[in-house]
């Protein structure tokens, strides 16, 4: 049986020593088991390692082009889209602890958030404004991509993934709009879903499928709740993963002077 040697600060061979060295080297070994390189890098090698060995930093690449770093290349709009989505997920999960998706309780829970829940007003406000911001910023991001020609080959497929994200973002915002169950929410969804009914041939079927009923009611609230809290965020997360992976596979962000 082979025993791995663990270097101790004093340089002694700890394999034969007892509990003392084991405990003394434990924090260091525990740290090393999680972080395999220096999290505060001092040279180029360690800087590459800091990126390559980090789960989150592994999504972007270890090196980026200077053009990518210029603020006017992207205005950070794609990243802000991601950040609003993260803020929405966190504040949304916190809201789920209080919310009940039934016509009897939903509106009362909104009043509770305002009156009884610690930071409830702030939480609801944050979720609401972040949702509006996400729709606007995703749209602006799409405009910046087009106006900088960043949708052209080889990035055409990522543009399609982006269109999918735009539709999902609108759907997530729209399904969330119903949940407060106030007059604003209710009638916006009545108007919005009646549009689905104008589709030829299958319009009424689509509408019924969305609402689970002929009118906006108990079934619609439950369906919108499940779509809003589970289905759509999962699909968005998956597509965002594909979107970022494709950015790397397409050779980083579009930049001039390659021909």
């Amino acid at each position: 049986m082979s025993v791995r040697k663990v270097p101790t600060p004093s340089g002694t061979d700890s394999t034969r020593a007892g509990l003392g060295p084991t405990m003394r080297t434990l924090p260091r070994r525990l740290w090393r088991s999680i972080f395999r390189s220096n999290p505060l890098p001092r040279n180029e090698l360690e800087r590459s390692q800091a990126v390559a060995n980090n789960f989150f930093f592994h999504i972007p690449s270890a090196k980026v082009h200077e053009h990518t770093l210029r603020p006017a290349t992207t205005f950070g709009l794609g990243l802000i889209s991601l950040y609003t989505f993260i803020i929405l997920c966190v504040s949304g999960v916190l809201l789920m602890f209080y919310y009940v998706p039934t016509p009897e309780q939903a509106y009362d829970r909104m009043l509770d958030l305002r009156g009884a829940v610690f930071f409830g007003t702030f939480l609801r406000n944050l979720h609401r404004w972040a949702a509006h911001a996400m729709v606007a910023v995703v749209f602006l991001h799409m405009m910046r991509v087009f106006l900088t020609g960043a949708h052209k080959p080889p990035r055409e497929f990522n543009w399609l993934v982006g269109l999918g994200l735009l539709v999902l973002t609108l759907a997530a915002s729209f399904t969330g709009y119903l949940l407060p169950w106030d007059q604003l929410a209710y009638w916006a969804i009545v108007v919005g879903t009646s549009i689905a009914g104008y589709a030829p041939l299958v319009g009424d079927e689509i509408r019924f499928f969305l609402l689970g009923d002929d009118v906006v009611g108990r079934e619609a609230l439950l369906r919108f709740y499940v779509l809003h809290c589970v289905v759509l965020p999962l699909f968005i997360s998956a597509l965002v993963g594909l979107h970022f992976w494709r950015i790397r596979k397409d050779g980083g962000l579009a930049r001039p002077g390659r021909d």
């Binding site: 972040a130 729709v135 087009f146 960043a150 108007v191 589709a199 001039p256």
Partner: protein, 175 residues
């Protein structure tokens, strides 16, 4: 074509400890790996990642400030018997609702579907290289004008639907 057993065999060279070895290939493409001007690449850490984290902090701060200063609207309990006049969709659908007031099918289904299809087809139609990564590149001015015109129309309809439509969807002044 040489048969597999005719392929030259390579002597494995001695691997040096402390080095990483990778298998490289030459491909007919222009990927960053083939970039000759590698000096224009910088380490993502810290230059890019610090900026990205900073942007996250700024986003959180701005949205938190908005949440502290402005309250989300909450009207009376939903009442299926009392429709408000006018009943409006969320703002990002008001351009479409405005179109729906002219033609239900075209506003609600036809035009949005066409816009999505055209957007999806755009990079496959405009496929010749040129102008990537440059704002409003001269060689792309036609495409940009079409795009901006569509966005401008949608924006105009959204503003009309949001601010200039009152009871029974009649034109009103917002002041």
């Amino acid at each position: 074509m040489p048969r597999p057993d005719e392929r030259p065999s390579f002597e494995p060279f001695p691997l040096e400890p402390g080095k990483t070895y990778g298998l490289m290939a030459v491909v007919p493409a222009r990927t960053p790996a083939c970039e000759t001007r590698t000096e224009e690449q910088v380490q993502a850490w810290p230059a890019a990642l610090v900026r990205e984290l900073l942007l996250f902090v700024v986003t959180i701060l701005v949205l938190s400030l908005a949440a502290l200063l402005f309250d989300a609207p909450l009207e009376g309990l939903a009442n299926p018997l009392h429709p408000p006049n006018p009943a409006k969709a969320p703002w990002y659908f008001l351009g479409l609702q405005e179109l729906v007031s002219y033609s239900a099918f075209w506003g609600g289904v036809g035009i949005p579907a066409i816009m999505l299809l055209v957007a999806a087809a755009a990079p496959y139609m405009e496929w010749r290289p040129g102008g990537e990564g440059v704002w409003f590149h001269k060689s792309r001015s036609a495409a940009n004008w079409i795009f901006l015109t569509v966005v401008g129309c949608l924006g105009f309809l959204t503003v009309v639907g949001t601010f200039f439509r009152g009871e029974n969807w009649a034109l009103v002044m917002p002041w």
